[in-house]
Symmetry: C2
Subunit: 130 residues, 2 copies
DNA sequence: CAGAATCCATTCGGATACTG
DNA sequence: CAGTATCCGAATGGATTCTG
């Protein structure tokens, strides 16, 4: 398969014993490994400038505290941008940053696939291999 | 908790039944949202038939209990296959199932990107943009 | 070697209530 | 509308120990 060993930069990585490009353990992946994080990115991607209420409506089963925590994390990570309009009633719009869009592009195939798999598993009641 | 799209309310449903592709909330995504799950899939993808020890060595900071839990979950989900050879010393090899390979294909771009982002963020020290 | 089992600290996330 | 604050139970994941 495509096992690009990266361009072996002569700047020898001090910490990594041989392997390097396999698995980012912290950083963004940790964020994305939190509940609904990936889905959240995709939702904002899908509905464009998204207001809090829109997002909340999409995830009916998610509590507001969790949702706003996740949103805040994604904003802090530079994945989402938050635009606040001081009107009455107040309006806030979340959007993907450029980074966020890059992420979204990579997330979409995954979520699409996941959805498909879930359906077939629910249909057959079992996974393919066991 | 089975998530039915709640088609009972057909009265002016804002979300058309056509684009249901937004966000799988349960199923595989829940699994993948657990710690190291995605990285695990990619590692097995990368090193092919992977023995437990190899995997463990790749994630130096992950405890064996967590690792084996995650492995079991992925096997149960039909993403990894587990081949056990009754030798002495015992040998076990994990591999991606077909489903797993499909997943891996979608995961690889994501992890690659994540790695890249992490590096630039660490380098510049910034996590916010715009 | 490849884990299973156990125990436990921490974190996470849900419910609820309240605010600018 | 768009959250925040607080509380708390549940789940997660780590350390350690033990085993076929």
């Amino acid at each position: 398969m495509a096992e690009t060993p990266d361009s072996a930069t002569e700047t020898a990585d001090s910490s990594s014993p041989g392997h390097d490009c396999l698995c980012p353990l912290g950083g963004v992946m940790d964020l994305l490994s939190r509940r609904y994080a990936m889905q959240l990115v995709c939702v904002v991607d899908a509905i464009g400038p998204a207001r809090y209420g829109d997002i909340e409506a999409t995830f009916e089963e998610v509590s507001s505290s969790t949702l706003s925590t996740r949103l805040e994390e994604l904003v802090d990570a530079g994945i989402l941008s938050r635009e606040q309009y001081d009107e009455i009633p107040p309006r806030v719009e979340y959007e993907l940053t450029e980074t966020g869009e890059e992420l979204g592009e990579r997330l979409e195939p995954l979520l699409r696939w996941a959805e498909e798999i879930d359906e077939t598993e629910l249909a057959t009641g079992q996974s393919k291999e066991r």
